[in-house]
């Protein structure tokens, strides 16, 4: 037995046994354990394999910076790769497995990479795998891909729920260690709205792992009393299991709360993870400091860990990481670990102190080797001894764990995410938080304080200062006394010379000192180049342990201060965050809100198939019994509209109410055609351009009264058009008295089209709608039989006699039902957007298939709608540019297949007969196509070079993508009723 659970002690609940498995074997831990502490308690030091060389690895830390102990937790669709065993909260039924090894963790074939390591140094892949050329993609890359990567993701739909929430506070405190607790307490007592967030499942931070006493009680108990008081304050929110991962503009912090990651079967009523966007007026970073590993030969062997980690496992979890522990240190932390171990009856075989002398109290009975260093470690799957060197003499010291301490690095990650770089301190031999203003301060060891007492004080002081800033009454916190704390100061030691094995800087990515040296020799000297070339700091821990060492070592190689080397860029996320948490509820069918038409039910009752159209679902066609394909339904609908009458839901068209004396003028300026003289009671088709002269959208606008218009837009551009109007009115012409409000949702709007539409409509509407009383383009408020107020427009997209009737949305279904009933004898049918599309194609009406953001009005045959006599309208000036008026532009034409049964598909290109397909020969493309049941063959609209001059020409419709070539005749885009006789029935 090497590592084991002590008989007593620690903050685990020994009364609550938890069963879990690791690589199929069952173990037991206690409530309050992490997966790592429980594995150690069961003497499972070997937990993982490294990325590149597949070296055996255990834990290095007891916290979130862990680079080595990555496991896969959970199974089935809940499997999660790359979980850090050091932060996974143990629960009953937890299933853990090692990863990146084959066939087993102990016997991993990938270890061969370690033997090949002379060939696999930093950046080796840039220099090789190039011969012979095709082998890279056929052989080398597939092999590399298979070997690379860590854990396996399930790639199944996630069975759990996620959600997001906002939180607002005066003060956000990040980290609930000594500084964070005192900051929260000071602010909480002062009455501020406080959020205290900590990544751990138990608040208290380092206090939980230290043996000092605070306020006359064990540090962990002190933390407990503070938390109790905070929990009772209504203005304080405690957020354990919450990692603040990012600091964004305007003091918005991103955080993720692990709501149910510590249970085997999450409750379906709760999210498993909750994303928080915390808006804080002020914030304190009390994230503590990371202990630096020492960089010596064989420093990656399982059992080699930081001194603080060894101490935490001992004090917090009641686990001895070894039965004979050696310590290698350059500061007080190693001594404290030795003392704590000795106090708990664990044998400490030696303290190897890199310094010639120190004032640290020597634990009784422990041998101290001063001026010593470790140059190698022994053991295969776990350390079983080390080689110490002193004054040129080597000595083997037996041990089954090695606690190392290379000093401390304040955790300043969050404060450096917005561009500020940490600042090197010669005094602290560490990078400290940059000065980023008065809203966000580092406190405690994150600010470079090293003793608990100083951290307590600093936390309270910084909170008080920030609160004074916000106008809260000054509050002087009483700082508890600390007894038995140690002096964690240290002497810098970046690299331990004389290494007999690789000395790792980045444990997970297997970057060792030799790699850093190679990068320097090859010119990758900037620390960013060093990082990118060697991959140091690019593993899942993002270099939390290794980056400062890398900077120090590179500085040493170059003979400069670490200040000159600097750090690589800190970026979100502080620790990795699941896609699930960041996505929240927005996934699957909820990927976007759904908009349903007021006629949705009516359509459903009539057999509609629905199709997504932006956020809307629109009725596409209405199947009837016996119809085997959508085309059959569509053909029937089209023919019926042309012959009889049909009803179509057009409620999704954008509708904008426009009010004011300036409305006419505004419309005249945003439409390319004239609107000043539109009479009351009339609708007009209008074309809007962008300022660059390209068509933006089309629609109709009706004048309902002197200063009241209603505009309709296409479904797709409804939001853009409203924004365009608002932009024009607010920024170009604020002097115009005009107001807009969307009424899209207010109205159920239906198009009744076909030669019998008047007959049917007159059964619904009280008003006289004879051609004289209600001619083409009439637009008025009407009253339905039964008394309902409605709006009626005589406009047509189908080319038939047609009306659009708008009724208040709640009545839409009833009115549509009534129309169907009223039209039954006339053979009415419901028709959908597919039939609508065919109807408009037969009439040569354009949609956004033609108005695709590159076409001018003239391109699509609407040149007449450019009222160039108007002094100004949006798009007028730039529409006159040479390129927009050139004779060889693509112009709208119709196409009919020469052989009637041939299909033309949208997206095909056009070639002159006999021309070879090439861009130089490209004559244009098919923008829309359909089968025309009215004509009995396929038709298409196309954009063709100088197309209007080419009616009658035979042209090749080239669709190489789908392997078809069809000869077609260029014709007018209006296939049906070119003289619009049917409109005016």
């Amino acid at each position: 037995m090497t590592s084991y659970r002590l008989a007593a002690g620690g903050a685990v609940n020994r009364g609550q046994l938890l069963n879990f498995t690791f690589d199929g074997r069952t173990f037991r831990g206690f409530e309050g354990d992490t997966l790592a502490s429980a594995l150690l308690a069961n003497d499972q030091m070997l937990m993982a394999r490294s990325f590149k060389y597949h070296r055996p690895r255990g834990v290095v830390t007891a916290g979130s910076a862990e680079p080595s102990a990555l496991l896969t937790v959970g199974n089935g669709a809940r499997r999660e790769p790359n979980a850090r065993a050091t932060v996974v909260e143990l629960y009953n039924g937890l299933v853990a497995a090692s990863q990146n090894r084959w066939p087993s963790l102990k016997h991993d074939f990938g270890t061969i990479n370690n033997l090949l390591s002379p060939f696999l140094g930093a950046g080796f892949y840039y220099k090789t795998f190039m011969w012979p050329a095709p082998f890279w993609e056929r052989l080398y890359e597939p092999l590399i891909r298979r070997a690379a990567g860590l854990g396996k993701v399930a790639m199944q739909a996630d069975p759990d729920r996620y959600e997001k929430s906002w939180a607002h506070c005066d003060l956000l405190v990040i980290g609930a260690g000594p500084a964070g607790l005192m900051a929260a307490l000071a602010a909480g007592r002062a009455g501020a709205r406080v959020i205290l967030a900590d990544e751990g499942f138990r608040l208290g931070g380092s206090l939980l792992g230290e043996s000092a006493s605070v306020g006359g009680m064990p540090a962990a108990d002190f933390a407990g009393t503070v938390i109790e008081e905070l929990a009772a304050l209504p203005n304080v929110t405690l957020m354990p299991r919450t990692t603040v991962f990012g600091w964004y503009d305007d003091m918005v912090f991103g955080a993720v709360e692990r709501v149910q990651k510590h249970v085997a079967s999450p409750s379906p009523d709760l999210a498993v993870e909750r994303l928080w966007r915390i808006v804080a007026k002020r914030a304190i970073l009390a994230s503590g400091a990371e202990e630096r590993p020492l960089v010596f030969g064989g420093n990656d062997k399982p059992g080699v860990m930081t001194a603080a980690a060894a101490r935490t496992y001992l004090n917090r979890y009641g686990v001895a990481v070894g039965s004979r522990v050696a310590v290698f240190t350059n500061g007080g932390s190693g001594y404290r670990t030795a003392a704590d171990l000795v106090a708990r009856g664990v044998d400490v075989t030696a303290i190897i102190d890199a310094r010639p002398q120190s004032a640290d109290p020597m634990p009784e009975g422990v041998r101290v080797v001063r001026n010593g260093s470790v140059v190698a470690t022994k053991g295969r799957h776990r350390i079983d001894g080390l080689i110490a060197e002193r004054s040129g003499f080597e000595e083997v010291i037996a041990c089954d764990a090695l606690a190392m301490s290379g000093g401390w690095s304040p955790v300043v990650h969050l404060m450096c995410q917005r561009g500020a770089k940490p600042v090197w301190s010669d005094e602290k031999q560490a990078f400290l938080a940059p000065d980023i203003g008065k809203a966000f301060l580092a406190a405690g060891s994150a600010a470079g304080f090293d003793r608990i007492s100083d951290c307590l004080k600093d936390g309270a002081n910084k909170a008080s200062a920030l609160l004074r800033d916000l106008g809260f009454a000054a509050y002087e916190a009483d700082i508890p006394d600390v007894e038995g704390e140690y002096d964690p100061s240290f002497a810098p030691l970046w690299y331990v010379p004389g290494a007999k094995d690789k000395a790792f800087v980045d444990f997970q990515n297997d970057v060792h000192v030799g790699d850093l040296g190679l990068a320097q020799r090859e010119g990758f000297r900037h620390i960013e180049h060093t990082k990118r070339y060697t991959t140091a700091g690019m593993a899942t821990d993002q270099g939390k342990l290794g980056n400062v060492n890398a900077a120090g070592i590179v500085a040493g190689m170059r003979g400069v201060s670490p200040a000159e080397i600097g750090t690589t860029t800190f970026r979100p996320f502080y620790t990795p965050v699941s896609f699930g948490a960041l996505a929240g509820t927005v996934r699957a069918e909820h990927a976007a809100p759904v908009r349903t038409s007021p006629l949705h039910n009516w359509a459903r009752k009539n057999g509609a198939a629905f199709v997504e159209s932006g956020l809307w679902y629109r009725s596409a066609w209405f199947s009837r019994e016996g119809e085997k394909s959508w085309r059959e339904s569509v053909d029937r609908e089209v023919l019926n509209v042309r012959a009889n009458v049909g009803l179509c839901d057009v409620s999704t068209l954008g509708k904008i109410e426009i009010f004011g004396r300036g409305a006419a003028e505004l419309l005249d300026r945003v439409y390319s055609n004239s609107f000043l003289k539109l009479p009351v009671g009339k609708a007009r088709y209008g074309l809007m351009l962008r300022e660059d002269g390209i068509v933006f959208d089309d629609g109709t606008t009706s004048r309902l009264s002197e200063n009241h218009y209603v505009m309709t837009t296409t479904t797709a551009y409804a939001a853009e058009v409203l924004a365009h109007l608002e932009f024009s009115a607010q920024t170009f012409w604020p002097e115009l008295d005009v107001r807009f409000v969307s009424s899209t949702d207010q109205w159920a709007q239906m198009s009744l089209a076909g030669p019998k539409s008047r007959t049917v409509m007159s059964r619904i509407v009280q008003d006289d709608i004879s051609d004289d009383a209600f001619p083409f383009l009439a637009a008025r408020e009407v009253v339905l039989r039964g008394g309902l107020q409605a709006r009626l427009f005589r406009i047509s997209f189908s080319g038939e006699l047609a009306y659009e009737l708008a009724v208040p949305a709640g009545y839409g279904e009833a009115v549509a039902d009534a129309i169907m009933e009223a039209g039954r004898d006339e053979g009415i049918c419901a028709y959908g957007v597919e039939a609508l599309n065919v109807l408009r194609l037969e009439k040569g009406h354009v949609t956004h298939s033609e108005l695709e953001g590159r076409t001018t009005a003239d391109d699509v045959g609407l040149g007449r709608m450019m009222a160039m006599q108007k002094p100004d309208f949006i798009g007028k000036r730039l529409s006159m540019r040479f390129g927009l008026t050139a004779a060889d532009r693509l112009q709208l034409v119709g196409l009919k297949a020469v052989e009637a049964d041939k299909e033309i598909k949208a997206g095909a290109h056009l070639l002159k007969d006999q021309a070879k397909p090439s861009l130089a020969n490209d004559q244009g493309f098919v923008s829309s196509a359909c089968f025309s049941p009215s004509l009995g063959h396929h038709i298409a609209l196309a954009m063709l070079k100088s197309g209007r001059e080419r009616f009658g020409e035979r042209i090749l419709v080239w669709d190489g993508l789908r392997g078809s070539e069809v000869m077609a005749e260029v014709c007018s885009p209006v296939f049906v009723d070119p003289d619009n006789l049917k409109l005016h029935l």
């Binding site: 503009d249 305007d250 918005v252 924004a723 608002e726 932009f727 607010q730 920024t731 170009f732 100004d872």
Partner: protein, 93 residues
């Protein structure tokens, strides 16, 4: 900026509520202005690094266009004004 904008009409709101239209500095030329002025208005951007005025449309709020005066390097916001007020002020000024 970028995370939160303080709308002069609605208060502090998240970026989600806005749609960003672009540079506010170019002013739409008069109908009789030269072609070069129109070209410049539509296509040329000063694009300074630093202080920048930009149209943000509060689409999910008051639906006003706002001119956000900010630093595009530090993302510090100096002020937010209603676009009509901005336009009137520069027309008068």
């Amino acid at each position: 900026m970028a995370s939160l904008i303080t709308c002069p009409h609605c208060g502090t709101r998240p970026k989600e509520e806005f749609s960003i239209r672009g540079a506010a500095a170019p002013k739409r030329p008069s109908a009789t202005a030269k072609d070069e002025d129109w070209h410049r208005y539509v296509y040329v951007r000063d694009n300074p690094k630093g202080r920048y005025q930009e149209y943000w449309h509060h689409v999910a709020g008051c639906r006003r266009f706002l001119v956000v005066d900010r630093d595009n390097l530090t993302h510090e916001v100096f002020g937010v004004t209603d676009a009509s007020d901005f336009e009137r002020a520069r027309t008068a000024g």
